[in-house]
């Protein structure tokens, strides 16, 4: 059952394996999963291991369980609106309501999300809230039931949510599996999979507790919030660096540090403890934490092409600085480096390249720029400057915000790429760049 799940989620860059399934099964046995929303929450707790995973996870979840593919650069809302799943759901929904109320598309998406993310906790809340309500209004006991028949546009209806706690685990699994099959089969199967039984894929119309209603605040709490929350716009690890995925980028850039921890024989300590032991020398190892990670960032801040990225890039390296204690030097240039780089953003304080290469050779150098300019701007002098930098600092990479597909067509990108290894300015690109930096021999590719 659900045997394809680990692989599907792995393809989204998440760490899932057979243990994920075992845990999920255990959670089901304990009755933690009774709605689709529960499934989302439980899986989230098991699969998501850092905030950066949220985006890919949501994407994978919608793809796997709801057959809603979130395409590159698409927001979740768009993806839902375009999906067949939503279409079918909408059709059956409108049928049920006899299409008497014209509901806006936004509201429909809200309802859809409400049903998808409805958890058993919400059901409990609703039910207990209702009981309270009934008790308080004992004399008007008849009225609420009458109201059930009407449709108030303000209230959101959590339609046919079922409390399936009494269903056996086996049944639950079978139902899940069936739903999945129907989802795969686009033609057949038809109406039932996200249809008449409500969105809950475990749904069967009969056992559902029909028409429990929640006021705007209760029911709507997930929907818009979910959409408005940037974490629910699946973050693409291949999207260009922006404020939303800067943390993902930070996670990749951290690799620079982790790889550089080495164990070393601590000679003085070995002697000291050996003498204390009365001459029995046992080697003492000390792990040398690389506290002196040194980074030079060279940013192209000239021209309009770079301006959208500068703030984000600075943000990234600033975060990096607060997270790890180390030296971070930032310099600026325009288009390419001639004989100077600049210490300030307005490029007034020069620092000659020959002084730049006086820095310790252990500095890692990040060039950040689009490397796109008129061919004549990349002069022989500039090439020499770049070469002298890469010669001095063995660990150099160039991060380029220009979309990868434009690279082959831009002469200067090709030329600079020969000198400095170049990677796209995306979390993935940064990760690869860092891995490249950490490999022993750094030759340009």
């Amino acid at each position: 059952m659900l045997s394809g799940l680990p692989e599907y989620f792995r393809n989204h860059g998440l760490k899932t394996d057979v243990r994920t399934l075992l845990l999920l099964r255990r959670a089901m046995e304990r009755g933690l999963v009774t709605t689709l929303g529960d499934l989302y929450n439980v899986l989230k707790g098991i699969v998501v291991k850092e905030p950066e995973d949220m985006g890919p996870f949501t994407k994978a979840y919608y793809g796997y369980f709801l057959n809603i593919e979130v395409k590159y650069g698409q927001s979740l809302e768009d993806a839902i609106l375009r999906s067949q799943t939503f279409q079918k759901w909408k059709d059956s929904k409108l049928q049920e309501d006899d299409a008497e109320t014209s509901v806006s598309l936004d509201d429909l998406v809200n309802q859809f999300l409400d049903e998808v993310h409805l958890t058993s906790y919400d059901i409990k809340e609703v039910i207990s809230g209702r009981e309270l309500f009934d008790k308080n209004d004992a004399d008007q006991a008849d009225e609420p039931s009458e109201q059930d028949g009407e449709t108030e546009s303000v209230e959101r209806q959590l339609e046919k949510m079922a409390d399936y706690s009494d269903i056996s685990l086996q049944e639950l699994l079978e139902r899940l599996e069936k739903i999945k099959k129907q989802q795969k089969d686009k033609h057949g199967g038809g109406s039932h999979w996200v249809g008449t039984g409500g969105i809950s894929p475990f749904g069967h119309g009969g056992a559902a507790k029909n028409g429990i209603r929640v006021g705007g605040a209760g029911g709507g709490k997930m929907a818009r919030k979910v959409m408005g929350d940037k974490n629910f716009f699946p973050i693409d690890r291949d999207a260009l660096l922006n404020d939303n995925n800067v943390d993902a980028a930070l996670a990749s850039i951290k690799g620079v540090i982790e790889e550089s921890a080495i164990e070393k024989l601590d000679v003085p300590l070995t002697i000291k403890t050996g003498l204390k032991r009365g001459g029995l020398f046992i080697p003492e190892l000390s792990s040398e934490k690389n506290e002196e990670l040194k980074v030079i960032v060279l940013i192209d801040n000239g021209g309009y092409s770079m301006s959208p990225y500068i703030r984000t890039v600075q943000n990234l390296f600033r975060k990096m600085k607060t997270r790890f204690a180390h030296d971070l030097e930032t310099f600026y240039f325009h288009n390419t480096i001639y004989d100077n780089v600049y210490k300030d953003e307005r490029r007034t304080q020069r620092l000659p390249v020959e002084n730049l290469v006086d820095y310790d050779k252990n500095y890692r150098v990040f060039f950040i720029g689009d490397a796109a300019m008129a061919p004549y701007e990349l002069s022989g002098q500039s090439v020499e400057s770049l070469q002298s930098i890469t010669k001095k600092f063995k660990k150099c990479v160039w991060l380029n915000p220009e979309p990868l597909r434009y690279w082959p067509g831009t002469y200067t990108i090709q030329a600079i790429k020969q000198i400095v290894p170049m990677y796209p300015l995306t979390p993935h690109g940064i990760e690869r760049a860092v891995r490249k930096m950490n490999s022993r021999i750094s030759t340009s590719n």
């Binding site: 959670a27 707790g45 291991k49």
Partner: protein, 300 residues
């Protein structure tokens, strides 16, 4: 059966539903809950308030740079053991010489190794069913510490040093374990895999107002609103160290003794801003912005 009802917070602590669900899930599965998030979002508060609210025993292990599993689980007190065994000999010698006075071992018997095991928070909480165990700021620990915990977490038992005594707990009585981290270092994958993970996002204005309400119920609403406006404005500036929940609570504590009008005046005058701003560079930045445009902080 372990206490695993769904807990949503107490009068003093506002528990985000997402967090409450994750916590419930962790307890039901008998797994530790790993909470990460910005400093000052109430990670540590969760188990403390939960234990208090549910009347459960709480064991806390604050992690530091020198933490090791011995401190966490149990260590064998060699010094005491040595002393007591010497005392035995001394007492025997005294008895030989016909001396009456004897030295005491404080009720410990050197024959019983278990008497010399000093139990740490982990062993204590495993020994008392249904307790709450907080491992605070695990990211401050040496790298190998989380890995050393793996066995204990997945097998629910510790073996006491020297005495060989086993402290085990059934899955039902498993303590609710909460682990917090500020993400200062990455935790090993194997470790994370044994935890239920939850990331606390920074609360938005409405939630923050509720949090403030829980801590300072006596503060005037108008004061809170003005303070919140400034607080979120400061957070948006992209300071090196953005102010957090803890800081705004302290700030309000500072002004709350004044009358509402006076308090608002003080807040707008950014009095006691030192409670919010924690680095020199940030302070300079804020005062520079104040200098150019003082109205910016009044109201938006």
């Amino acid at each position: 059966m372990a206490e695993n009802s769904y807990w949503t917070g107490s009068e003093k602590y506002l528990c985000d539903p997402q967090l409450a669900q994750a916590f419930h899930m962790a307890r039901t599965l008998g797994m530790p809950l790993l909470i990460e998030g910005e400093p000052g979002t109430g990670k540590t508060e969760l188990p403390i308030h939960y234990a208090e609210n549910q009347n459960l025993d709480l064991f806390v292990y604050p992690v530091g740079s020198k933490s090791n599993v011995e401190q966490f689980v149990a260590r064998f007190d060699h010094v005491k053991y040595l002393r007591d065994s010497q005392i035995e000999i001394l007492n025997a010698q005294r008895a030989e010489k016909g001396l009456e006075s004897r030295l005491s071992t404080g009720g410990r018997n050197p024959e019983l190794l278990g008497d010399y095991v000093a139990k740490g928070p982990a062993a204590q909480s495993y020994a008392s069913p249904n307790s709450v165990l907080l491992i605070d700021e695990i990211d401050k620990a040496p790298r190998e510490f989380p890995n050393d915990l793996l066995y204990a977490l997945s097998h629910r038992k510790f073996i006491m040093p020297e005495s060989g005594e086993e402290v085990a707990v059934s899955e039902q009585d498993m303590p609710a374990i909460v682990i917090t981290s500020n993400r200062e270092q990455e935790l090993p994958t194997a470790f994370k895999g044994r935890c239920i993970y939850h990331y606390i996002h920074f609360p938005d204005k409405e939630v923050m107002a509720q949090i403030i309400e829980k801590h300072h119920p006596d503060v005037n609403d108008g004061v809170v609103k003005v303070a919140l406006d400034i607080f979120y404005h400061l957070r948006r500036l992209g300071l090196e160290r953005a102010p957090t929940t803890r800081e705004i609570l302290n700030w309000l504590k500072y002004v709350k003794d004044h009358k509402p009008d006076e308090a608002i005046r003080r807040i707008e005058g950014l009095e006691g801003i030192g409670a919010l701003i924690k680095t020199q560079a940030d302070m300079e930045r804020v005062s520079r912005m104040l200098g150019t445009d003082p109205g910016q902080f009044s109201m938006n």
